[in-house]
Amino acid sequence: MGKIELLRGNYAASYGAKLSKVQVITAYPITPQTSIVEVLANCCASGELDAAFVRVESEHSAMSAAIGASAVGARVFTASGSQGLLYMAEGVHWAAGARLPIVMAIVNRALAAPWSVWTDHQDAISMRDSGWIQFFAKNNQEVLDTIIQVYKVAEDVNVCLPAMVNLDGFILSHTVMPVDIPEQEEVDDFLPPRPPGAPYELDSNNPMTYGNIADPTCYDEFRFSMHEAMQYSKKMIKKTTREFERKFGRNHGALLEEYRCTNDAEIIVFSMGTMAEEAEIAVDILRDEGIRAGSAKVRVFRPFPTEDIIRLSNGLKAILVIDRNLSFGLGGAVASEIKASLYQEKRKPFLRERVMGLGGRDVTAEIIAEEMEKTLGMVEKEEEVVIYE
């Protein structure tokens, strides 16, 4: 049993990294991420955490240093978000191609222009095709737990991919919630140190060259091996979630977390991050009114939980997808993935997508409940779907 403390989301991320006994931390400030690395700086300074704390001069270098450190076999952590994530984008793709199990907390923040420090998922979604495993947490407990879990997934010899744990800026990062902090011994038991001699490791006793030119006869194989690893990681995520639940008694869903998604449900709302927390309250409101509603939190955006979504959509009257991101000229990213997932299905429910909460605009349970009711109303009327009003 751990102890329960009131923690900000950022502190939960720091404690997740600390409990995972990370060995190298590369740090560069950006609002609203900064306190994650500040807490870790204190942990390193006080000796609570035996890690190298590298104060780099940019996010690009934060990722580059993380790449170098992970290549030697250290367990590496960094954190960023928004413009910072974009600035390190080159390294983000590189880390995945180099198959390095770096874990990065992303405090989701809207992108400029115009400047905004408030949350949306545009930053992380822009890294969709980078080859990173992407988790989105709905509360601070999940932030802490996911960081511990995801090292186990990322470092698996058959996965060897980096992972980002996303938390909504301010809504989680700067909001205190009760968080059960597990004991170090329990975490050690769950997550052993990164094993030496991992694949793709730099060692002068086994000198290898990594990342040199791959011509068209073999580049394709490198990329498909990433795809296979990503697909395989679904199994690892499910396995790790079960193991974690057995040990710590908490389950935030593996790839997808279901809330009141009963067999007779007529509508399910899909969302990511803190909107899922609101969506669950919305479901309660609707259930009280006699509407058979459910909520599904897409916990992992990559690899995408296609199979879970197909299973859940079976027998539904309608789906509402709320996206906190916008792919200009198309719509929300989660909605388009769900639509793609359902394309081959013979019987598809009515699907309505809404893009909401950009730049930190509040998305409350009441708003979501209203949207769900509207969606059900539209099933009969066959109205045209508009993604915003």
Partner: protein
């Protein structure tokens, strides 16, 4: 047996059959650097000629662990490798081997950052004074009057003074070197190897492809760059500068070869205008003036 071979052995860490151009001085420099640094060297290669020279997967021209990283990542990736070696308890020297594009231009902030943090790495800039790997475009290092594909009428304006920028970081050790003087280069690498903290070595690396001279002339061009005073050999500990090798006696301008002796070897200066030539000579004279000031500072600080 030459003095060099006696000192640093016959082990080769850059393998034959690599993909460098004939007469390439970058790979020559790397070969002789690695002879000094030896087996436990972790090589970091950003986008550059070196990323091609090492060859195409699954082959490699590197007999030491080598890591390719993005263009502006050499110093930061090397920093990460250093810290991780320390925490996992492995010994070794970390060597970032980057071109002038990566050092002067796109990666300047990372080199500066690593220097300021005093990362325990050796950063080598092999300076062929252009983006040679992409087919010779002007970089921050391209000298006045030199042709590149993006300065078809010769580069105008002064290049960046990268060696003194690094000296101004007051790092534990920095030096300039030339492939024309391998003894001097290897001594400096040895010096760097034995010092802890950030070490910077800047090698002027004549490029047959970019400077347009026959592959057989590399060493001659390199030597002449020093003897004309175009390239000054010096080293600095914590910003305290002293001249080395032939540059020691070249303080006296009358001891220098005429600039023409360097320019005429290379077709990149074939169409240099008299104004550009004059500007180039003024730039060189100014470099030496700065050098004098720095040395006076140094002498004044001596006890």
């Amino acid at each position: 047996m030459s003095k060099l071979v006696q000192k640093f052995g016959t082990d080769e860490w850059v393998l034959p059959g690599n993909a460098s151009c004939p007469g390439c001085s970058a790979v020559l420099a790397l070969r002789h650097i690695l002879k000094v640094l030896g087996k436990d060297t972790y090589l970091v290669i950003p986008a550059s000629c070196s990323s091609v020279i090492q060859g195409v997967y699954p082959r490699t021209a590197s007999a030491i662990p080598s890591y390719n990283v993005p263009f502006a990542s050499a110093a930061s990736a090397a920093s990460g490798i250093r810290h991780a070696l320390n925490v996992v308890g492995k010994k070794g020297t970390v060597l970032a081997f980057a071109g002038d594009g990566a050092t002067y231009d796109i990666g300047l902030s990372t080199v500066s950052g690593a220097a300021e943090r005093n990362e325990d790495i050796i950063y080598v800039c092999y300076d062929n004074s252009a983006y040679s790997n992409t087919g010779v475009q002007k970089s921050g290092a391209t000298p006045i009057g030199a042709w590149t594909t993006t300065t078809p009428t010769g580069r105008e304006g002064w290049p960046k003074d990268m060696p003194l920028i690094m000296a101004a970081h007051q790092v534990p050790y920095m030096a300039t070197a030339s492939v024309g003087y391998l003894n001097d280069l290897q001594r400096k690498v040895k010096e760097a190897k034995d010092i802890e903290g950030f070490r910077y070595i800047h090698i002027l690396a004549p490029c047959t492809t970019g400077w347009l001279f026959p592959p057989s002339q590399t060493i001659k061009v390199a030597k002449m760059s020093v003897l004309t005073g175009f390239w000054i050999l010096f080293e600095a500990e914590r910003g305290m500068i002293r001249l080395t090798g032939p540059s020691k006696r070249l303080k006296d301008p009358s001891k220098r070869e005429p600039l023409e002796e360097f320019l005429k070897l290379q077709d990149r200066f074939k169409d240099i205008t008299p104004e550009q030539k004059k500007a180039l000579q003024e730039w060189i004279d100014f470099q030496w003036t700065i050098m004098h000031w720095k040395m006076i500072e140094y002498l004044e600080k001596q006890p």
